[in-house]
Symmetry: C2
């Protein structure tokens, strides 16, 4: 699937069919995430693929932002230990979030191109997720991606026009395509 088409057609899906996600497709999503850029190529990220049905159910219980009943999820985590070995503590808080989000966008675009539906979840109980996934103290869950086959694909959400979000050279100076 064309990269620009994937970006425009991907929707955040919140209802899923009760149909398992093949392991090979999840592997392709992980491969996409693996190649995301990261600050200083530090790659201080871990991806926990949750497929066990009881684990997914528990994850949903502690994640108010997870809607529907996705058969799978990937929890994107930052690895503070790795970051401190290769980066610096000062930058960790910022870089961890940014790097994990860059990889997450790859995950959801790859999923869409593979016929899967996703939703990025930021609302979850961090301590409960950490306990459920048996995360060491230096691993922090940053984002969760719900994954499945869409029961309903929503209409495109209202989006701000480029004239409302893009400027030329200075803030407030209109950007013009032509």
């Amino acid at each position: 699937m064309d990269v620009l088409e994937a970006m425009l057609k991907r929707r955040s899906v919140r209802s899923y069919l009760p149909k398992a996600v093949p392991r090979t497709l999840l592997g392709k999503m992980l491969e996409a995430a693996r190649w995301a850029p990261s600050g200083g190529n530090v790659q201080a990220w871990k991806f926990i693929v949750v497929r066990d049905s009881r684990m997914v159910q528990m994850l949903r219980i502690v994640s108010p932002g997870m809607f529907g009943e996705p058969p799978a999820a990937i929890v994107i985590c930052s690895d503070k230990k790795r970051y401190l070995e290769l980066g610096s503590e000062m930058e960790y808080e910022y870089m961890a979030v940014a790097d994990c989000a860059l990889a997450t966008e790859n995950l959801v675009l790859a999923a869409h191109s593979l016929g899967l539906a996703t939703c990025i979840v930021k609302s979850f109980a961090e301590a409960a997720v950490s306990e459920l996934l048996e995360l060491p103290k230096y691993i922090r869950p940053e984002l969760i991606v719900s994954i499945g086959y869409a029961m309903n694909v929503p209409q495109p959400p209202p989006k701000l026009a480029l004239s409302e979000i893009a400027y030329a050279d200075k803030f407030g100076r209109p950007w013009k395509d032509e």
Copy 2:
């Protein structure tokens, strides 16, 4: 270009030809960023396209992470005012970075598919960038993307194997593709 191919082939490029980037291509990049997901669809982001050669030069001077002489750049900013109107202050710090990074990944993937080279820059003097771009107090520069035509495309950087970053259901339990 295929979305998975774009993710695997995109490189962070740090040397550029002295050749202007057509405005229409920058417009396509912005369109890609516009369709990125954001928490609650808040879209609390602004994109400042810097093309004026003196402005690009000034931006480079205050951004140690900007290498080479890119003919253009996009400064991705969070909009705290919009976020507070539609979201909450507590979530702002986290969401602003994550949302801007999601949009940034769309920018660099779109650029690659359009034949452009990019590099994501996190190291810059925030106050100096804000002054240069005349950003209001509620607009914060989060990331910068250098944009141009590659003089040299680097080899793929060393990447951790999936076995080092992906787990099944719990931390430490090996993920297997098959």
